[in-house]
């Protein structure tokens, strides 16, 4: 399962105390891990905190690391858990403190990290609306569907790696992903069918 994991060597070097290997792991994963946490938490600051905690856990566990799972699977799993834990703690704080706004107070942070690719104004407007709608759809998915779709489509993990990360069978993951994809597609239908030029990002290959 891990014979072709390009990160195994890196992690084994890290386990032997090679700090430059740890640094390389951080560099290699920090964008992916912070981004995934961001999708759960909606706040860049929280996402970076979670990412740091994930890497510190990897570092703490480096000497006991056994390459029975891909490094990326392991790191993604820790990230999902840490993000969900933080989300739950937030929910408790809201219960304890009713004045706290019910979610999404940090949403503006999103804008700071928007790709600065120049867009014509009407396109930018449409894309901003679409981005907001999509964010909300993902947020409202049942937790397992949301995690599966984020791992597979947002993080680009294969079905097999998504299944390994979630500790689920391949058929179970296929079924989760199918439900998630149908939900997302249905919710986006007005945008996908309006004008047909709205979603310029789609691949256009014929089957």
């Amino acid at each position: 399962m891990t014979a072709n994991d390009p990160d195994t060597d890196l992690m084994l070097r890290c386990a032997r105390g090679d700090e430059s290997a740890f640094e390389e792991i951080v560099r290699r994963y920090q964008g992916r891990i912070a981004s995934l946490a961001f999708r759960y938490l909606g706040s860049a600051a929280d996402a970076e905190d979670v990412a740091q905690e994930v890497f510190l856990r990897v570092h703490r566990a480096r000497e006991t690391y056994e390459p029975t799972a891909k490094l990326s699977t392991w790191i993604h799993r820790i990230t999902v858990n840490a993000s969900l834990n933080l989300l739950r703690r937030r929910r408790v704080r809201r219960h304890l403190n009713a004045e706290m706004p019910a979610g999404g107070a940090d949403r503006e942070a999103d804008a700071d990290f928007e790709d600065p690719t120049a867009k014509r104004p009407h396109e930018a407007l449409l894309e901003a609306e679409l981005a907001a709608v999509l964010r909300e759809i993902i947020e409202r998915l049942p937790e397992r569907q949301r995690t599966a779709i984020l791992l597979n489509k947002y993080q680009g993990l294969s079905y097999e790696d998504t299944a390994a990360t979630l500790g689920l069978s391949l058929p179970a993951v296929k079924s989760l992903l199918t439900r998630a994809r149908v939900n997302i597609k249905e919710a986006l239908l007005p945008y996908l069918t309006a004008g047909r030029s709205g979603a310029g990002t789609a691949e256009d290959d014929d089957a």
């Binding site: 912070a34 981004s35 840490a82 990290f113 397992r144 995690t147 947002y154 789609a202 691949e203």
Partner: protein
């Protein structure tokens, strides 16, 4: 979906390039000749591409330095010592759970919507959350980083919600 010749699961896997060669050939041939399925695949691909293209964070070199420095400050303690500390952490968490739970039960009804009493489900949710809260926040105050990490790992092991414990049953330390 109107077409009965393929399943939606097949179309999703086809759109993702995740079908094995034989099934892919069959599905691709069908999609090429069926307008309904072709449209479905197109919608799935485009909506999938939108998810893939959602905003990303790009922590830079400063983040890398911060993490590496933090890791240096906190060398991994020997596993044996950690395991011996564990029962103390569990006991502390249990005591704190009770304490914070009492507080929530006192304050939550008035702060929840319209002063209504919490439903049984809400109570369960809060109790589940409290498990995490009591572990983390209180133990953090105890300045015992090993304990925190241990209890955080325990959240994964024991789970605070059935769904999640089923999803992520393994400790990342590999047991």
């Amino acid at each position: 979906m109107k077409c009965k010749q393929t399943s939606i699961e097949q179309l999703v896997a086809h759109a993702d390039g995740e079908l094995d060669a034989r099934e892919e050939e069959t599905v691709a041939r069908h999609v090429a000749s069926c307008a309904a399925c072709a449209r479905e695949v197109d919608l799935l691909r485009r909506s999938g591409a939108l998810v893939a293209g959602m905003t990303r964070l790009t922590p830079g070199a400063a983040f890398t330095r911060r993490v590496v420095a933090a890791a240096r400050r906190a060398p991994a303690p020997p596993r044996g010592a950690l395991r011996r500390l564990w029962p103390a952490a569990a006991a502390a968490a249990a005591v704190l759970l009770a304490a914070v739970a009492a507080r929530v039960w006192l304050t939550a009804p008035s702060s929840a919507d319209a002063g209504a009493l919490l439903t049984a489900r809400e109570e369960r949710e809060i109790a589940a959350d409290l498990y995490v809260l009591s572990n983390l926040d209180a133990l953090r105050g105890a300045e015992a980083e090993e304990l925190i990490s241990l209890v955080e790992d325990l959240d994964i092991l024991e789970g605070t919600e059935p769904e999640v414990s089923g999803l992520f049953p393994d400790d990342e330390d590999g047991g």
